[in-house]
Symmetry: C2
Subunit: 314 residues, 2 copies
Amino acid sequence: MKCHLCGVKEAVVYQLHTSKALCRDCFINDILKRVELEIKKYNLIKSNERVLLAISGGKDSFTLLDVMSKIHSSSKLIALTLIEGIEGYNRADVLDFMKSKTRELGIDHIVLTLKEAVGASVDEFVKNMVLKNIKIPPCTYCGIARRRAINKVAREQGVDKVATAHVLDDEAQTYVMNILRGDTMRLVQVHPKGPWLSKLFIRKVKPLRKIYERETALYAYFHGYKFQERECPYITHIPTLRARVRDYLYRLELEKPGSLLRLVELLDEALSDYVKKYYELPELPHCKMCGEPTSYNREICKFCELLMSVGLIK
Amino acid sequence: MKCHLCGVKEAVVYQLHTSKALCRDCFINDILKRVELEIKKYNLIKSNERVLLAISGGKDSFTLLDVMSKIHSSSKLIALTLIEGIEGYNRADVLDFMKSKTRELGIDHIVLTLKEAVGASVDEFVKNMVLKNIKIPPCTYCGIARRRAINKVAREQGVDKVATAHVLDDEAQTYVMNILRGDTMRLVQVHPKGPWLSKLFIRKVKPLRKIYERETALYAYFHGYKFQERECPYITHIPTLRARVRDYLYRLELEKPGSLLRLVELLDEALSDYVKKYYELPELPHCKMCGEPTSYNREICKFCELLMSVGLIK
């Protein structure tokens, strides 16, 4: 079958949400165009801005790296990979591959352990937690520590934006989760024009937020990425709210391809005025221990609280 | 245990979403106050307006009738009950109870069969459908015919508003369903300030939209209502989108009581500006067969289309 777009080359991809069969080149071009469109629509990144790409090494972040190198000046991009410090989960092969990719693209690539970046690896956190005989999901520490580390590096590097590899599936899940939770504050922060509550936070953008995960998998594969997602040893299969929403949304997407895209577009549009009400919020207060921004109702930030609770700071 | 509100009478109800134990009187007063607050907040019904109460006879509609008689002048209320015309599902006992209730409250009560109101009962529709050897869920006809009948009676009676007995559970489901479907047009119509697209439609309001179904069940029970919901013989247990959303939301509510209330409040608030964009839409076009309003993309309304498809009109 010929590609539905160019009509010349053999189709190799069936694009579920448009019911079109595409050749490799048209598939790739379509992704590039859609990312560019999203960036332009919400003015996510200006052409002269310096951007830190937070790349874990998964297919989504590989796609982010490759796409951004094609639509933004490579000299204005810096990549950052954080090593969590989890025994048996170092993914050295993936990291080597990502490093050769950034080298090839001429993009500076910072590789840091969480220990170097914020003082404690995930394993260290868990070890201390076990000693104190308390239970906190390691993912809680990992998530908070990584966000802190990314923001710290972004500030040190003086970039204008941080780009993360969140895809459409993530956005749809986060939107629905926050609606189900009734969490307006987090809901508005999913929106590309959501409020930014502290000058100490470098603005985060999500260039792939209208691209399906199934598309990044193909995009990465077409560009020589051949790793499988590996499972972190700390993963638990407790049915969290996100896991249930994810399952639900996948079923919906399966029945009606394009549903997730329509859902995110609907909420982007429906919330576009509402998010502006949050612009008037005051700057976030600063943590009394580390000086970083923290939630309105806190004196000590969640990161310091976690480290204190396991005895890593006093 | 004493009531958490008055501190005097024995508590008989545990209000899940506030974690409060209430006595019968405080429970009832709380419902009345919350309905009044909702009506006032969105200016759903003005004190001088005449209102048609669409009451099926279920506990929700019993509650609507009783609550409205207490917070609005009874002389400005008219009740309407429609008989679907389904063999083995006439619920004469419930109807007698509702009629004695409206008599007691001094509220005019119109009882009409769907046949009288719009020309064909549900059974007649199904019979003709079988003859034509086509398949349309009877609920599709029943829902559309009832809406048509309610609006017709409301217009004939010259009322200002139609009040339906939709409760919080319904509102939460409809909001989430329309988000999942990406149906913005229907999404904004769930909102109490949603657009009203035709002068031929009498404006519908939902006074119980912040009251849980579990609360209307108790409220009705406290006022002498003792019927169980009976199942329509045409009901099918196909897992529709609504059924799945309902299950999901009930689980959420069970885990975190108050979730549905927060969800509806969040969307009411988040969509409050957005719905106004729809005020600029033109009036709905009129069906070429019956002259009633129909969707923008239609020439013949869904109701006429259904009747034609089974040969009830030509």
